[in-house]
């Protein structure tokens, strides 16, 4: 199936731990994104990569580090997790601004 796939779907971890979320798209899109959806459902962009190059970094704490080994993958590593990091993280990809995005199904991160 052509899609944006994220793993894991659920992630429960303790404060202070380091965790990673992986994202892969097989749509051939050049641009990939990470969005954070908080408990009130508000979606905010975190990062964007175009063909492995970082093009958007929206004042995200430097505990968050994206990595794009190739244009089909965009992973998110989070160091020293805090309670406020609990949210649903969505990966998305797009071939261009006027096409809209294709979203993954999300990773629900719970920090305890």
């Amino acid at each position: 199936d052509t899609a944006v796939s994220q793993t894991p779907k659920y992630l429960v971890t303790q404060m202070g731990n380091d965790k990673s979320i992986k994202c892969e798209q097989n749509l051939g899109h050049d641009t990939m994104y990470w969005y954070k959806q908080d408990s009130k459902k508000f979606l905010k962009i975190m990062f964007s990569y175009n063909n492995k190059e970082l093009i958007i970094n929206e004042t995200v704490p430097n505990r968050f580090s994206p990595k794009s080994p190739d244009k089909a993958h965009l992973n998110l590593h989070i160091n020293s997790l805090e309670l406020g990091d609990s949210a649903v993280y969505f990966c998305a990809s797009s071939p261009g601004a006027n096409y809209g995005y294709t979203f993954g199904s999300g990773t629900r991160l719970t920090v305890v």
């Binding site: 944006v4 641009t31 994104y33 009130k40 459902k41 508000f42 979606l43 905010k44 962009i45 964007s48 175009n50 093009i55 958007i56 969505f90 998305a92 601004a97 006027n98 809209g100 995005y101 294709t102 979203f103 993954g104 199904s105 999300g106």
Partner: protein, 113 residues
């Protein structure tokens, strides 16, 4: 910078009634406009989009939205809703040449039998 305001956080309607979900945007340049739907515990799916041309755009499941430049609005409508339309709806804007979508706060549509 662009911004989006969805005027209603929740909209309850009865099944088969019409519905309108309101969206206003702010931008100093030309924009693309989108509506996304998020069903419970799922990701976002593109419902419809306005790029240029006809100001009325339609989705395959009966929703439509009209771009109104003078009012900077992109309201979503459906003449008769079904229980299956229960979801969170997000309006989003992208400035032309921009590299990101900015989302509104979302509107929870609840359909009552």
């Amino acid at each position: 910078a662009q911004s989006v305001t969805q005027l209603d956080s929740q909209v309850p309607v009865f099944e088969e009634a019409p519905v309108e979900l309101r969206c206003n945007y702010s931008s100093s340049v030309s924009v693309y406009l989108f509506w996304y739907v998020q069903y419970p515990n799922q990701g976002l799916q593109l419902l419809l989009k306005y790029l240029s041309g006809s100001t009325l755009v339609e989705s395959i499941n009966g929703f439509e939205a009209e771009f109104n430049k003078s009012q900077t609005s992109f309201h979503l409508r459906k003449p008769s809703v079904h229980i299956s339309d229960t979801a969170e709806y997000f309006c989003a804007v992208s400035e032309r040449w921009a590299q990101k979508l900015v989302f509104g706060q979302g509107t929870r549509l609840t359909i009552n039998p």
